[in-house]
Symmetry: C2
Subunit: 292 residues, 2 copies
């Protein structure tokens, strides 16, 4: 239930110039407009599961993209059924979108690479919830070594530079070393990883997959004194989210998906800190930047 | 498209202690919380048509009513198809609501009494739009005459009082006049009528049905300089809404459903005033009260 100005789940992720939406709760497009997120830059939408607070904003977003004259393809990933929900509502509103939706249905119980290109990869993280539900691991692939332009000899061939950027030495046709990549490059920038885990009960099985990520978002619906309620509804407490972080050792933990019973969120943060000091609250409209 | 803090259509109507929602665009429940509308007092929801900006907030509202432990029946009225949309999403989220939805599907092209009880009546107003669409006429039935207690003779029978409240004289068994109701009562309070007309092109056929209402809400998506656009999309201009009001002569005209192209709404109001002076903008969170 939305409460105290908080909205259902939706996150906007920009990674290597790819614009991604993770979950799309009711009002997502309204928030995107408020925070000046350009709707039609988004080419990928990942939906974790089919509880309303994670997808009910999608249909409105799809219509708005259409009304804003979108033509480029939209890639949509979710557990089975979302295609039916969309198709039915398009049919009943007699709407034909200007753009194509490329829909991929995944099994949330399997760890699956949903998407990869030359720069990023997205993998499902099987979670434990009332409905089949998966989180998502967003990873940058290894980045190119950085060429130190001032060190390059005049007239070096472009294919030799490309080879050194990928971290390989250059040899001539007889196999003699021509250039050592380390002499002309600096190591690549760090490749970041972000793990989104919502909704889920406390579930240690996710730890190996998310181990050492730069940023971990983990749901924390309840405080520890409501752990019975968390168990019943297959959600996590703040402490449980922090315990997962203690094991997975992300650089930073973000907690969110707070129950409507909490007007103030400071007590939730205070519950997490003793267990995992680098924790922050996922507050509407906040941007978290990972950069060296 | 929601824009400049404006939300899609949704109106909360309280009439004779009946709590009614008219249309339910995305974010309706969020606005209801902001403006302290008690979700679970609402027993009647009327949806004009199945364009997303008029119903996409419904599913989230239904789930929230469930989470807030609603048990009393909810009466839902819409053109055909909304039941399918709801049923599919309940099935896919494996949800069973705590309460019953009594669903009535109506033909928006017919003028039909959808609901009446001892105090109010709701009738469809066939409109002219891309999808079959009906507005709604909410009418208070004739109210009882007001008994002037200090004038009543001692020991007057309750059935005689009831008869006078309904505006009838009281006779004895032989047909002789016992009490003239005018001697003991004041005339009833006025019975109010509210007409909601959205979405629609300029459509004079509605005038007889809404003639003389106390409050007319008429959509006014565009200004007159975009009348081509209004014609194409079967919406109305501000001037057209005001012309309908000029013919129907409501006490007051409310205009709304403004296109996202208008950041400022003052020019729209200024366009209406020369044609119908008692016009107001339907701004989010505003309450309009009809009382003697």
């Amino acid at each position: 239930v939305p409460a105290f100005g908080r909205f259902p789940s939706a996150q906007y992720l920009v990674i290597q110039n790819r614009h991604i939406l993770i979950d799309c709760g009711e009002g997502a497009q309204i928030q995107m407009q408020r925070f000046q997120v350009p709707l039609n830059k988004i080419d990928y939408i990942f939906i974790s599961h089919l509880h309303g607070d994670h997808y009910l904003g999608l249909m409105g977003l799809l219509f708005s993209m259409h009304l804003q004259k979108r033509t480029q393809k939209l890639h949509l990933y979710s557990p089975a059924g979302l295609d039916e929900i969309i198709t039915l509502q398009l049919r009943l509103s007699k709407s034909i979108l200007n753009y194509t939706i490329a829909y991929t249905c995944f099994d949330p119980e399997e760890q699956t690479v949903l998407f990869h290109d030359d720069a990023i990869q997205v993998t499902t993280i099987p979670l434990w919830h009332k409905l089949p539900c998966a989180g998502f691991l967003f990873e940058e692939k290894r980045k190119p070594f950085k060429i130190e332009k001032h060190k390059l000899p005049e007239g070096m061939l472009i294919q030799h530079i490309v080879r050194m950027k990928s971290g390989h030495d250059v040899f001539d046709e007889e196999g003699h070393l021509l250039y050592k990549y380390e002499d002309y490059t600096l190591p690549p920038q760090r490749s970041y990883r972000y793990a989104y885990c919502s909704d889920t009960a406390y579930y240690e099985q996710i730890v190996p997959q998310i181990s050492g990520v730069d940023l971990l978002y983990h749901e924390a619906t309840f405080m520890e004194n409501e752990s019975d309620k968390a168990t019943d509804t297959l959600h996590s407490t703040v402490k449980q989210a922090a315990m997962i972080a203690q094991m997975a050792k992300p650089v930073k933990l973000l907690i969110g998906h707070f129950s409507a019973r909490y007007r103030e969120l400071e007590p939730l943060l205070l519950e997490a800190l003793p267990h995992f000091p680098n924790t922050e609250l996922a507050i509407e409209g906040t941007t978290f930047t990972l950069e060296e």
